[in-house]
């Protein structure tokens, strides 16, 4: 029997038992929809986290003092003081693959204006910091290199601070003087709002001031807590890390074989870590959904076995008019595959509809194409695997007994 005929016969058998076929198909539909949704949510969250991360800065590299701490080994406190302003200046001068660089010191504390106060973090930075972190200045301007040299007591503030201290986000506070840890800072600019990031941190609750000022007046230290760099491009990030390694090793007079007394992390690494976590969660969810597909497959096998028994006489007839065992087994295999594939198509559609609904409710959802292809492949395999036993049972029937079966 050729393929078109097999398909036709399978269609007829399915149409003759619409209700029963649909019910056994339902398992596949739900299973596939579940897999699709889980993958879509996984993919969607991954993309939204990526989006958030890249909003935090482009091709961001962060240099921190101290050796890589991944082992959790406690380090000498002096190891935390290895990054100096000189290092920052060398990077600025020598690192050709670094587009922007900023020295960074930070401190948490209370900021006061008049009778209002709020808790925030002050970041001591170079003016390039705004370019690195993709901040835009809404009102006023950023401070300048000149302010850095003079350790001027000026700052730019985020919208949350404006709201907390002046009562209204729109308040024109440029020129006003606020106090952080009793040091007065004149506001020279207000940043455009960024909102909360995906792990719930208010990105607008910041105060940015010249790093020289923060080092001298606030934290009173001669070393930097970190240096942030923006590489010229994503591809060049790794080369840029190499470059920085060389510059800093030279500055720190490290001999060959000595471990770095600083670490450079790229945003890629961070993204990869986040992605790995998301992938793990996605895999767990998808595996759970895949089990429902397994159960659905067993349902199909069950219904096919019933169908084979019910159609014993038909099988006997087909055999007596010349169907070979393999013609019969193909017929039932194709029927099983068609049930599961149709279930797969409907499942993908259902999954798509639910994802659209979820996206419109604000859940990040994105159906990756490969998950659709995977679903179809899995469905075809389910049909083949769970159709095999019923098909073999049908093919092995004795035509003499089958045709007389009542």
């Amino acid at each position: 029997m050729n393929f078109t005929n097999l398909i036709r016969v399978a269609m007829r058998a399915i149409m003759n038992n619409k209700m029963r076929t649909f019910l056994s198909m339902l398992g596949i539909i739900i299973g596939v929809a579940a897999v699709i949704i889980m993958m879509a949510i996984g993919q969607g969250s991954k993309m939204s986290i990526r989006g958030e991360l890249s909003k935090m800065g482009t091709n961001l590299l962060t240099i921190r003092p101290g050796a890589d701490m991944r082992g959790g080994v406690r380090q000498d406190p002096s190891a935390m003081q290895t990054l100096k302003v000189a290092d920052y200046e060398s990077i600025k001068q020598k690192a050709t693959l670094a587009r922007y660089a900023s020295a960074e010191v930070s401190s948490g504390g209370q900021v006061i204006y008049g009778a209002n106060n709020t808790t925030t973090t002050i970041y001591g930075e170079a003016p390039e910091y705004l370019d690195i972190k993709l901040w835009e200045v809404e009102k006023g301007d950023c401070y300048t290199e000149d302010d850095i040299r003079k350790s001027a007591k000026v700052c730019v503030v985020g919208q949350t601070i404006v709201e907390e201290l002046f009562g209204d986000k729109g308040y024109d506070c440029v020129g006003k003087t606020i106090r952080f840890k009793s040091i007065p800072f004149r506001i020279v600019g207000v940043l455009k709002g960024k909102g909360y990031n995906s792990w719930g941190m208010d990105q607008d609750n910041v105060m940015i001031a010249p790093y020289t000022t923060v080092m001298k007046r606030i934290v009173a230290q001669t070393y930097l807590s970190s240096i942030v760099v923006s590489a010229v491009s994503e591809e060049k990030s790794d080369d840029c890390i190499e470059e920085i390694n060389e510059i800093l090793r030279e500055n720190h007079k490290l001999k060959e074989g000595d471990a770095n007394d600083f670490t450079v992390h790229s945003q890629q690494e961070m993204m990869e870590t986040m992605s790995t976590t998301m992938d793990t969660i996605t895999i767990i969810l998808v595996v759970a959904a895949a089990f429902s597909l397994l159960v659905a497959g067993i349902g199909i096998m069950n219904i096919m076995l019933v169908s084979v028994t019910e159609r014993t006489k038909e099988i006997g007839l087909r055999m007596s008019v010349g169907a070979r065992g393999k013609d019969i087994s193909r017929q039932f295999l194709i029927e099983a595959v068609m049930i599961s594939l149709t279930g797969g198509v409907l499942g993908v559609l259902l999954g798509y509809l639910l994802c659209t609904a979820a996206s419109s409710m604000g859940l990040p959802c994105s159906i990756p194409l490969w998950s659709v292809i995977l679903s179809f492949t899995v469905c075809a395999c389910i049909g083949l695997i769970f159709g095999f036993v019923p098909a073999r049972k049908a093919a092995r029937m004795d035509p003499i007994e089958a045709i007389r079966y009542e």
Partner: protein, 253 residues
């Protein structure tokens, strides 16, 4: 002998078939030998237990002999594999069963097409043409698209006969083909078989009803797995005469 000139369609040479039932061996066929020539209308008769079903399974290539040899249209069947026999059935044999065995919810044309579905030499158009021709031959040219549940027993059996004709078989094997039909319809069916016989078809009709032997050209009687009688019928009764004598059918029935 004039018989030697006729073509042998079926030849059984000392065919035996044993079945194991528990520890016992049942000898269903105890050495059957006969030849059936092209164009014969043979009835095979016997009571239940005489081995006629076993013989029918042998003739239909559904089973193989324990010993002896069966030649169907010159092909030895005993050592054939299952799938080879399936193909042989498909090309050489037309079955007519007692309970029609039509596919449910399927039109007559599609039912008749069934054997050709398993023959890749036919495409969809040729298949339909052959099916329509076979249905016309059994007088159902006007019921091509009727489904099996929309037809009477006689019509269903005609569809079954058309299905047996569609592959132009070497032999038509009928198993109690009138067993489920009322008297008049039975005769109409026998009339159809006689017509096919006149057209030169080879027909083997297995039955326990002795009357049918009157209308065939030869009768083989089985008892206890052996041939008891094998006679050529010189005076074939024309079924039309019998139908003419039947009481007029009451349409209200």
């Amino acid at each position: 002998m004039s018989e030697d000139k006729r073509k042998v369609v079926i030849e059984l040479d000392n065919v035996k078939r044993d079945f194991k039932v528990g520890d016992e061996v049942v000898h269903a066929l105890r050495g059957i030998s006969f030849k059936i020539y092209e164009g014969e209308f043979v009835t095979i008769m016997g009571t239940s237990g005489s081995g006629k079903s076993t013989l029918l399974n042998q003739l239909g290539c559904l089973d193989t002999p324990t010993s002896g040899e069966y030649y169907l249209d010159g092909t030895p069947v005993r050592k054939m594999k299952r799938s080879e026999r399936a193909i042989l059935r498909n090309r050489k044999i037309g079955f007519v069963f007692q309970n029609y065995n039509l596919l449910a919810k399927t039109t007559s044309v599609e039912n008749v097409e069934l054997p050709l579905m398993y023959n890749n030499k036919y495409n969809a158009r040729q298949r339909r043409e052959a099916a329509v021709k076979a249905l016309q031959a059994v007088g159902l040219g006007d019921r091509l698209e009727h489904k099996s549940n929309q037809m009477s027993g006689g019509q269903m059996q005609r569809v079954a006969i058309a299905r047996a004709l569609v592959n132009d078989p070497a032999v038509i094997l009928a198993d109690e083909a009138t067993g489920n039909l009322d008297t008049r319809t039975s005769y109409e069916m026998l009339l159809l078989f006689q017509k096919l016989h006149h057209e030169g078809r080879t027909i083997i009709f297995v039955t326990h009803n002795p009357e049918i032997a009157l209308y065939s050209s030869r009768n083989i009687m089985l008892r206890d797995g052996k041939i008891r009688e094998d006679v050529v019928n010189e005076n074939i009764v024309d079924v039309r005469e019998v139908i003419a004598k039947l009481p007029v059918q009451n349409d209200e029935d």
